[in-house]
Symmetry: C2
Subunit: 383 residues, 2 copies
């Protein structure tokens, strides 16, 4: 096992009717920015629950944070935060709104050009404190220190992280899933699954707790994910939501190497072709697993056995079957797994490789083994 430092300060309020806890979770002395996306929270009752909980608080609103939150939009909120003297940001949404709010929180306190936080890894030295009401289980952003923000003008998509933007609290009420569009449920389940895989499917350092926890999350998503579309009940929603949070709150990745090469390629697909984040991961992951089958053999065999109960055949046969099962799981939660299903063809290969090169993504993964050449093979195999 590798050395690590782990902490997670987010206070999780999980379950039915937890939104009412906002009243005490945010100090009444604070001026609150209530930030959200396209306004669906006004139709599903969440907005009203929040207004009820914050009726004695001083609140200003900012709406319109889009999927793949943009620098352009979030900078408008930064102005509002400064103008109004906001000293607490309540992000109400999924990963995009939360990530956008993390950037707003850091940019509002940043001296200099905030774009440098994203493009140049300029250090964040303070931020407006953040709380979250999660409306879409997927990214884990509600209890981690990371965010991804895009610049529309240049089609760049960058990540940043800072303990200062780690949410103080997160309210997770699984009932919010009951009004989500099918596409968002699909995205959330696949996103969480691939987050686990990025931390699990690496070279083996004998981190037995981390491996078992990762496998537990994968098994839960495999068992419960497809039910979200058919035999959904409170426990199904709760299990999916808690899995997605645990998938990327730092715990399962502590003390083990991490990969993130599938995300590396996926981010470029979203930036160039506008596919949803999870859609890109479902296209790339199966071919990434196959391309890296030699380096990752031990863990792939373990994955085949413990997650899919595949215990017979040659190593290559087991790995192949485990990858097929993975792709079938994506399909079972109504996700496409090929470029061609989005009317994208051979032209993507060179375009994506050029973009990866431009962003210096020439040696991705836990062992820096995903070269441009191997990325090209992976992308070409995913058409």
């Amino acid at each position: 096992m590798l050395n690590f430092t782990y902490s997670n300060k987010t206070i999780i309020h999980f379950g039915d009717k937890q939104i009412a806890k906002l009243t005490k979770a945010i100090d009444k002395k604070r001026k609150v920015l209530l930030a959200y996306g396209g306004g669906s929270i006004k139709n599903n009752g969440i907005y009203q629950q929040i207004c009820d909980a914050l009726k004695e608080h001083n609140v200003v609103e900012f709406s319109g944070i889009e999927p793949n939150p943009s620098y352009e939009t979030t900078m408008k909120a930064v102005e509002l935060v400064k103008e109004q003297g906001v000293d607490f940001i309540l992000a109400v949404g999924g990963g995009s709104v939360i990530d956008g709010c993390k950037f707003i929180a850091a940019a509002a306190k940043f001296e200099g050009e905030p774009w440098d936080i994203l493009a140049k890894n300029a250090p964040v030295k303070s931020a407006v404190p953040i709380g979250v009401v999660l409306t879409l289980p997927a990214t884990g952003s509600e209890s981690n220190s990371y965010a991804v923000v895009s610049k529309l003008a240049t089609k760049d998509k960058f990540a940043f992280g800072s303990p200062y933007v780690h949410p103080e609290f997160a309210i997770l009420d699984p009932m919010v899933m009951s009004t989500l569009p099918e596409r968002q449920l699909t995205n959330g389940i696949v996103d969480a699954f691939v987050h686990v895989m990025e931390q699990y499917l690496t070279f083996n350092v004998n981190g037995k707790v981390q491996d078992r926890f990762s496998e537990g999350l994968l098994l839960t998503l495999i068992e419960e994910g497809p039910k979200v579309f058919n035999e959904v009940n409170d426990d199904v929603r709760a299990n999916v939501m808690w899995s997605a949070t645990m998938a990327l709150n730092g715990l399962i990745g502590s003390g083990v190497p991490q990969d993130w090469a599938t995300h590396g390629i996926g981010h470029e697909i979203t930036a160039l072709y506008g596919l949803d984040h999870a859609q890109t991961l479902a296209i790339i992951l199966p071919r990434m697993m196959w391309e890296m089958r030699t380096e990752k053999q031990d863990k792939l065999i373990q994955y085949a056995s413990r997650v899919w109960d595949i215990n017979e055949g040659s190593n290559e046969e087991r790995i192949k079957l485990a990858i097929e099962k993975t792709e079938q799981f994506f399909q079972a939660v109504k996700m496409k797994t090929r470029f061609s299903e989005y009317q994208l063809g051979e032209e993507v290969v060179d375009t994506l490789i050029t973009q990866l090169e431009r962003h210096g993504q020439t040696a991705m993964g836990e062992a820096q083994a995903v070269t441009l050449e191997r990325s090209k093979t992976i992308i070409a195999n995913s058409l």
Copy 2:
């Protein structure tokens, strides 16, 4: 799944040579109480590493916190804290030292008779902040809010909990295990195992993540625990240490019912007969499982299957075999599992029942189903 609120603020520094992180983890403006037990840290190099890390800090020492820390001893430290104006407590030890320090931290700030914190659940409203260097993986006390303290004069053993005594940081260097006496390793492994069981082996609320995480910890302890005595290496130590912390940091018990009846009886055995805490748990747990086999049938069958790969036979046969395997695991880590092995006989039954009654322990467990009568059966079956 049940509603829950979960947070854990402890910053974990895990791995080789992490003790050096003390230098930055404790503000130099603070006056530090370095508190420890019988002095073994002076022989194994830990004391020296701590002194090196704190050479520029203002430190006073308090040693002699005993196994099952006593009110009498800890109150001497409370006086020292007040006299010397200590404003940070560094607990160096296992669960006993940490628990003792939690009580010292709370008692030093308590207005009134500190014993009331233990005996009357008097609310703790502040505490001296605490950090930990863990020397014995076992209780999980290094990153939770709970402590157990005994009063020698009356043979009472009480628990208390408060977020104010939750450690700010904990340093977990698995190498500290290399110089531990066999008995302490045995105790630690069994203690961690039973902590998981108390949160796992309850009625089923379909908390799939919690169940899988619990099973992951049990499997890790079963695989790695016995190796500690033979084929030990860095990874074995790291896996056991991380399992013990994760076993009782609040995570696996969030959103599920919790039992603690085995601990209820176990605490009385320690208070009356001086057996180590884990020794008492290993005596009681197998018979507790058997006595509660109807109420806990679903989870016992799941435990048999997922942890011990027992998938054939009648329900009763599977449960019986799983309990036998559990007891054999305790024996494999060199733990005794019967009163008679400690030269205790029938006389313990009535004495323990009287003590349980005196402490109001007449309906223990997640369903309050462990009555005095059933406790009597469990104890009698454990002779």
